[in-house]
């Protein structure tokens, strides 16, 4: 199911969500070999950061809550990883974050020179008080960071958005106007909280955390649907996609590529091959193609 995305050929339309597995070249490659068209690296930050204490990730059964807290070696401490990645046979999407426009620009300029295929701006992580979501809930600050980063990078820019934004379609439009080449939606929802009633304590060390997995799929589908109506750049749709029919659904909402993250928990690393097969089976059974169904849920209304 070869797909072209922003001029790059991907062997499947599936993307590994940032923050899931992508910690080194070997695991990115393994995910790619298992049917992921575009593996995303863990978010790269402006300085070394350990993330939060455990518990950081809890499986709630119908999805997860997490506050890993953006651990990163820091963009200046990844030389060996870039060396290893330089002769890779697969595409990579480099996710980056910062605490200010200047930090985003500094990280982006450095990372762009290392030759990833795409740069994804994480302006949507709920798990840090100083990074991420504070940008993505406001159209002006989203525009400012995208415009500033766009000036200093030489690869396509993907803006990753949060469903916590009051008007995600408006944020997406602001990113497009600022020069974003694609939108990735959605980051985790919430944040939410789970409390252990025996110890009377929030379970996550950071207390609150982002929700992912099947429980947020309807939010993801709605966000992609709204964004598709407000922008003309392609959309990576993700949030609770676990099966081929989930993928078909978010493609009908308007996604060009489909991200998978939490489903690795429920179906293993081979989830990518499984979902690709299920998409193909569904398309074959219905005598249609991905191109034909993309945005199909809008057609009557358009």
């Amino acid at each position: 199911m070869q797909t072209t995305f922003l001029g790059k050929t991907l062997h499947t339309p599936l993307v590994l969500a940032s923050g899931v597995l992508g910690s080194n070249k070997a695991i990115l490659e393994r995910v790619w070999e298992n049917g992921c068209g575009l593996p995303t690296m863990k978010s790269i930050g402006p300085a070394p950061r350990e993330g939060h204490k455990n518990p950081t990730v809890i499986d709630l059964g119908n999805g997860m809550i997490n506050a890993v807290g953006l651990p990163s070696p820091g963009y200046l401490n990844m030389e060996e990883e870039w060396q290893e990645l330089s002769d890779r046979a697969f595409p990579i999407n480099a996710s980056i974050y910062g605490g200010s426009v200047d930090e985003f620009v500094r990280v982006a300029e450095f990372v762009s020179a290392k030759g990833p295929d795409f740069i994804e701006l994480n302006i949507s992580c709920p798990n840090s008080d100083q990074h991420g979501m504070i940008f993505g809930v406001n159209a002006q600050s989203s525009h400012d960071v995208v415009a500033a980063v766009k000036k200093v990078i030489h690869v396509p820019l993907i803006a990753k958005l949060t469903p916590a934004a009051p008007d995600i379609a408006g944020i997406a439009k602001a990113c497009e106007d600022a020069g974003a080449d694609a939108i990735c939606a959605i980051n985790t929802a919430g944040p939410g909280m789970v409390i252990d009633i025996e110890s009377r304590s929030p379970v996550l060390a950071f207390k609150k955390g982002g929700l992912s997995g099947p429980m947020i799929k309807p939010i993801a589908v709605r966000c992609v649907y709204d964004i598709f109506r407000s922008v003309s750049i392609p959309i990576i749709g993700l949030g609770g996609i676990s099966t081929g029919t989930d993928a078909i659904e978010i493609i009908m909402a308007g996604a060009s590529l489909v991200g998978i993250g939490t489903a690795v928990r429920y179906r293993g690393i081979t989830v990518f091959d499984k979902v690709n097969k299920e998409i193909n089976d569904w398309l074959a059974a219905h005598g249609t193609t991905l191109e034909e169904i993309r945005g199909a849920a809008h057609r009557e209304a358009l």
Binding site: G19, V20, L21, G22, S23, N24, A26, I27, E29, R30, K42, P48, R49, E50, G51, K53, N54, P55, T56, V57, I58, D59, L60, G61, M64, N66, V68, P71, S72, P73, G74, N77, M78, E80, E81, V194, D196, E198, S199, S201, V203, A205, G261, T262, V264, R265, G268, I269
Partner: protein, 278 residues
């Protein structure tokens, strides 16, 4: 009920102090378990860490803790009635095989903890002939001295008990001492301990054509193969492991060489070990 989902708050039923360094906390709850698997242990307000199950019966299990850092020192201070959160068990556990006739179990230091339930499972009427080779820095670091009926060879680095030297020396001796018509001499070698020791055990096994299983340790977060904190080369230690067989080890780039710090930075194993022991 203890599951892989939200931590279940359970009471510590008993604490057994083995030495100034080691204590075992017992929990009177059933848990579905296979030797080599681990649970995530949560002390609210402190942290959550992975621990292997070192003792298991239908209505009780135990975890052995070495007091090293903030979390483990707090853990060994807990006593009857104190509550901890448990989720799990996670990981694959040891493959105990089918019809093994002769196995060796090689333990270094606290690496004895995951291997102990395995040795007990093998010590049944139909189990294989089991040779336990147990080593530690010194006598007080030798876990469970009177626990097993299996034949045991003891070694310490300082000679305070048993042979003065390494478990790997004994393993080589024992392989060579087996009659030549037994090939391979052991059907399987199981090992857990410092990674450099396990790498040496693996190397010895490879040289003698003996299959081997090692139990790895890396910094963990989720415990179920999603967050990527514990990757070792292409392997996800919490989910694909923590027990890995010879075939996986042959292609595992970072085995005995590198590990990720909490930031995700890949560093040489000695640097990782120094950080983990803080």
């Amino acid at each position: 009920m203890i599951t892989q989902l939200m931590p279940a708050m359970v009471k510590v039923a008993e604490r057994k102090i083995h030495s100034p360094e080691f204590a075992t906390l017992y929990i009177d709850e059933p848990i579905d378990f296979k030797p080599g698997q681990f649970v995530m242990v949560w002390i609210p307000g402190v942290d959550e860490k992975p621990y292997t199950i070192s003792h298991h019966s239908p209505d009780r299990f135990g975890i052995t803790v070495e007091a090293k850092g903030i979390f483990s020192r707090k853990a060994v201070s807990l006593g009857p009635g104190d509550k901890i959160g448990i989720r799990g068990p996670f990981g694959n556990g040891f493959n105990m095989g089918n019809g093994h006739k002769r196995v060796a179990v090689v333990a270094g230091g606290c690496g004895m903890a995951p291997l102990a339930p395995l040795v007990e499972a093998f010590q049944t009427d139909n189990g294989p002939e089991t040779l336990l080779i147990q080593g530690a820095r010194s006598k007080s670091f030798l876990l469970y001295p009177d626990r097993f009926t299996a034949k045991a060879e003891i070694c310490t680095d300082d000679g305070s008990k048993g042979y003065k030297g390494f478990v790997t020396d004994i393993l080589v001796q024992k392989i060579k001492a087996l009659p030549a018509n037994l090939a391979p001499g052991f059907d399987m070698v199981y090992t857990c301990g410092p990674e450099i020791m396990m790498a040496k055990v693996f190397e010895i096994c490879e040289a003698h054509g003996i299959p081997c299983q090692v139990s790895l340790e890396r910094y963990m977060r989720c415990g179920f193969g999603v967050c990527g904190a514990c990757v070792c080369g292409h392997a996800v230690v919490c989910k694909d492991g923590p027990v890995f067989g010879s075939k996986a080890l042959r292609t595992m780039a970072d085995f005995n060489t590198r590990a990720l710090l909490k930031t995700g930075r890949s560093v040489p194993l000695n640097e990782y070990a120094a950080w983990r022991c803080q």
